[in-house]
């Protein structure tokens, strides 16, 4: 599903964020991406989302060299990836329902069908009863679950999460990870960047460890 082939990324010609990254993630896998802050986790995710282009090497997603995408194709490429952000990136001027409906609105899904999918998605994260609320009325954990509902509402084949539990207490973090596992179980490829090592160790999934922009460990769990 994801293949990095000797990928390097430099910023401003000097700072080397990623160097010679080489790995593959199979369809339907769940993978943790870990490392100290500044190790290059976010840069790696940004490359997959095609927010940035590698300085060297190739990034392939679903068999396509995404560096070769024409810029008019990029939006359509991104629609196939669900992304969960550490700071949720919810829009505070509209309700939970409309936040989750945003990807469907962008894709022009018909209203009734969109409402059905939004409710299914909110139900999945346990927030169906809050659909009319504004994000500001929700707790941090709930906001993150809305972010997840939005990321999965159009059933993406690939789900990326960048420090999704960064600001949450251990119990809420565990709940969020369980949600990711649920989505993985129904076939979604999931990649979660996190520095919560204790939680990651408990969950027993394949873990890619970055250190100073290098891939220093790729631990499969038996």
């Amino acid at each position: 599903m994801i293949a990095f082939e000797h990928v390097g990324k430099r910023y401003g010609g000097r700072f080397e964020a990623l160097a010679n990254i080489d790995f593959r993630v199979r369809r339907g896998e769940m993978v943790f991406l870990t490392g100290h802050s500044g190790a290059g986790k976010s840069s790696l995710l940004r490359l997959i989302m095609r927010l940035e282009r590698p300085s060297r090497g190739k990034v392939r997603v679903a068999g396509h060299d995404i560096d070769r995408l024409h810029h008019s194709q990029i939006p359509f490429y991104r629609r196939q990836i669900g992304v969960v952000f550490q700071d949720h990136q919810l829009l505070f001027d509209r309700s939970i329902f409309h936040n989750v409906a945003l990807p469907l609105e962008i894709q022009g899904v018909e209203h009734r069908e969109a409402a059905r999918r939004v409710r299914a998605s909110l139900d999945k994260v346990g927030l169906l009863h809050r659909e009319g609320a504004l994000p500001i009325e929700l707790s941090g954990g709930e906001q993150q679950r809305v972010g997840i509902a939005r990321a999965v509402v159009n059933k993406p084949a690939l789900l990326l999460a960048d420090e999704p539990t960064g600001n949450l207490d251990p119990q809420l973090s565990a709940d969020i990870m369980t949600l990711f596992e649920d989505f993985n179980r129904i076939g979604t490829t999931v990649m979660v960047a996190s520095h919560d090592l204790a939680l990651i160790a408990r969950l027993r999934h394949r873990t890619l460890r970055l250190h100073d922009g290098r891939l220093v460990a790729d631990e499969e769990v038996a």
Binding site: R27, K155, P156
Partner: protein
């Protein structure tokens, strides 16, 4: 959706709408954005009104000038029709002879009508116009020639000049006078006015672009986070642009309507003194009003300018906004 680059079986199934569905979705988004951006304007009524007023003021001057020129052109046409030639006959020609010469003049090609003014009639008019009755009474005999006023068929100055030469060749005609200089001056003035209006129109149109552009730039800045988020989850540029383009168009339309109101008010306010002034010159001139056609042009132009200003602003700022 042939542009969809990387089909995964799951992803492909969930979003690959057919052409008709996509078209309906597109139309629906347009409708939603038109209404939504209108509501956003109404949510800040004072700010929106200020922007529209700025647009209106920028539009009023060129539109007003244009209107005035348009009516001046009508006046010009009227004056051209009243342009006449005067053929002075040789002095001492008897009245019967003068009548025959008038007939000869009327038979010339390019003559639409003639009117004979005998020497006596000329004298009477002269006395009346100058109030010199006593002085003129003392003259022995009548020093004025009889004359024939000729109305040309074609009021074009070149044609009139040609006709004057032809009429001078008619026996018994001493001299043909035509006073076209003022007509030509008026025409040059009108042309100057047209160019000034055009230049002002372009300048003030640019002003509208800047006003709208600046307003939209602020709106883009205010909704930066929203733009970043929708870009991250796969919104096209067109999708992101759409609400701002509608805002620009609404601003333009609102400004156009205000300009229309100002023009109507202004023309009401000025019409009495202008008519009185015209009447004192013996002319009838009424300040024009925007007809349905003019109103449509004004509103169309203002809406288009608003849309264009928004387009320029959004495109410039979208390039700057990259999701972090």
């Amino acid at each position: 959706m042939s542009r969809d680059p990387s089909p995964s079986p799951r992803g492909a199934r969930t979003h690959r709408p057919t052409g008709g569905v996509r078209w309906r979705a597109w139309a629906r988004h347009h409708r939603t954005m038109a209404v939504d951006s209108g509501r956003r304007l109404l949510r800040r009524p004072l700010g929106s009104l200020m922007t529209m007023l700025a647009i209106a003021i920028a539009l009023v001057l060129p539109a007003g000038l244009w209107l005035t020129l348009d009516s001046a052109r009508l006046l010009d046409a009227e004056l051209e029709e009243s342009a006449t030639l005067t053929a002075y006959l040789e002095i001492g020609i008897a009245e019967g002879e003068a009548g025959r010469i008038e007939e000869a003049l009327a038979a010339q090609a390019g003559v639409a009508g003639t009117r004979l003014i005998t020497a006596a009639e000329g004298m009477a008019e002269f006395q009346q116009a100058l109030g010199l009755r006593d002085a003129l009474m003392r003259l022995e005999g009548n020093p004025l020639p009889a004359s024939v006023v000729v109305r040309p068929g074609d009021p074009d100055p070149e044609a009139v000049r040609g006709l004057a030469e032809a009429l001078e060749g008619v026996p018994g005609v001493d001299e043909v006078r035509l006073d076209l200089a003022w007509l030509e001056r008026l025409r040059h003035l009108a042309e100057l006015g047209q160019r000034v209006t055009l230049a002002l129109g372009v300048l003030f149109g640019l002003g509208v672009l800047l006003v709208v552009g600046n307003t939209i730039r602020l709106a883009v800045e205010n909704r930066r986070q929203e733009i970043e988020v929708v870009t991250l989850i796969g919104a096209t540029h067109a999708f992101v642009r759409r609400p701002f383009l509608y805002s620009g168009a609404w601003f333009g339309l609102g400004g156009g309507l205000l300009a229309w109101g100002l023009l109507t008010l202004g023309s009401d306010w000025l019409s009495a003194p202008v008519s009185a002034l015209a009447a004192s010159y013996g002319a009838s001139f009424h300040l024009p009003r925007l007809g349905p056609e003019g109103s449509t042009i004004l509103l169309g132009c203002s809406t288009l300018l608003g849309w264009l200003g928004a387009w320029i602003a959004v495109n410039r700022h979208l390039a700057e906004i990259r999701p972090r």
